[in-house]
Symmetry: C2
Amino acid sequence: MPSVTQAVEDYLKAIWRLSHEGGERVSVGDIASELKVSAPSVTSMVRKLKSMRLLNYERYGGVTLTPRGRKIALEIVRHHRLWELYLYMRLGVPLELVDGEAERLEHVLSDDMEELLTRNLGDPTHDPHGDPIPSKTGALAPVEGIALGQLETGTHAVVARVSDRNPEKLRYLVSLGLLPGARIEVEEKAPFRGPLTVRIGGRRHVVGADLANLVIVRGAPQASRSPGARRGPGVPPRSGKLRGKRR
Amino acid sequence: MPSVTQAVEDYLKAIWRLSHEGGERVSVGDIASELKVSAPSVTSMVRKLKSMRLLNYERYGGVTLTPRGRKIALEIVRHHRLWELYLYMRLGVPLELVDGEAERLEHVLSDDMEELLTRNLGDPTHDPHGDPIPSKTGALAPVEGIALGQLETGTHAVVARVSDRNPEKLRYLVSLGLLPGARIEVEEKAPFRGPLTVRIGGRRHVVGADLANLVIVRGAPQASRSPGARRGPGVPPRSGKLRGKRR
DNA sequence: CTGAAAAGTTAGCCATATCTAATACTGCGT
DNA sequence: ACGCAGTATTAGATATGGCTAACTTTTCAG
């Protein structure tokens, strides 16, 4: 029987992601665009994954993960997010690059190494973008909070999560200081999905609606801190950061 | 034209290693056993590598690396040894496991990450087994010293390098304290490739000839330190080491 | 309710990297 | 100088994963 290759891991992760964000049931086309492969490639891989009992699938019927498939997917997500946090915290990889690096490293993490990373980071719960790290048993904390674009004028909040899907945009958001843990205040919100004027760490910035919706925030901590609340992964790195000449 | 896949990297590294240790010219059979693949697999890959101008090859004539091939090989070796040192120093991966982990990580190291690792480790020159780390330009320091098995009774020496080819044996050598930087004295050497009695850090051990020849030593530092001499990669890890329950 | 657009599948092909079995070379010992 | 043992190559097959082109099914708009 076929084994869990890197391609298998990529498909399971993609399907998990899509079903996590969209609905339970995932279409062939969505998988194809997520992985940037053709639809026929997806069909054939999905047949294979079904034969491995990692997902449910009927012709023209979309797919859902089985518990076994979800378990593997969450393992990869765990690897990915552990590496992201490690690279950010210990090696000073810039936030907008950690996703790309972790994309390759996630497939290369033995159990021993995973344990060492986990310990080294002090049993972390969230990656540097604010996404929860699945536990070894597959438990996943929910992402609480609402999109920055939904806030009304005058609201205070703390950034809980910043989407990492687009490195360009993330890079820009980071340059504004909009990263997990940042305290912000909406000074003005234009109507009709208009841009927001946001105060971030003393400076004022105007942020378009699309960008603002990549940022998830939670109520400001001036209100009673909700139990289990946390503000970002901590300070970035102490040393070793890429600085100076960058070939 | 074909690209530099992981398989290509593995072949180039193997060929480099064989030509580094044995002669310039490497046979198909040696490559096959080094990589644990069949001889026909090697023949076909070698034809491909020739078409990529990474090595010279004539039917029945063995192979030698071209400068381009050697450059890629040394890049992989550099990645491998950087990861080994990083894992050992910063994550506390046991010495006998770093080779295996680095075997997978070596193929996954971007230029940015390589630079961060290098800086974090302070521009290191040797990996934790005592092997030199090729410079970014491909320069490689020679391994100086002689095999422990060659020493005469009464000689003092410092371990310069311990072979990592066999994790079992390495594990044992480590348990004796025979790792780079250790000061030793040969108390007795039995004739005819016989075992050695060696004093290591206060304790006395008997080491068979085969094992002893995996250890390369240099003159003891009581003599004037030769310029550029170094003693091991430094202390292992400070924290985060695998300890306690190991599932 | 129907037909065209969208989505999905099948068919057939390509590239990579392996393998076994059969064949061809090389070189060494006598 | 010759044959044989060892080494290497060719032939042909397999497995994985991806693609395009052609066809089928589903869905949705009118």
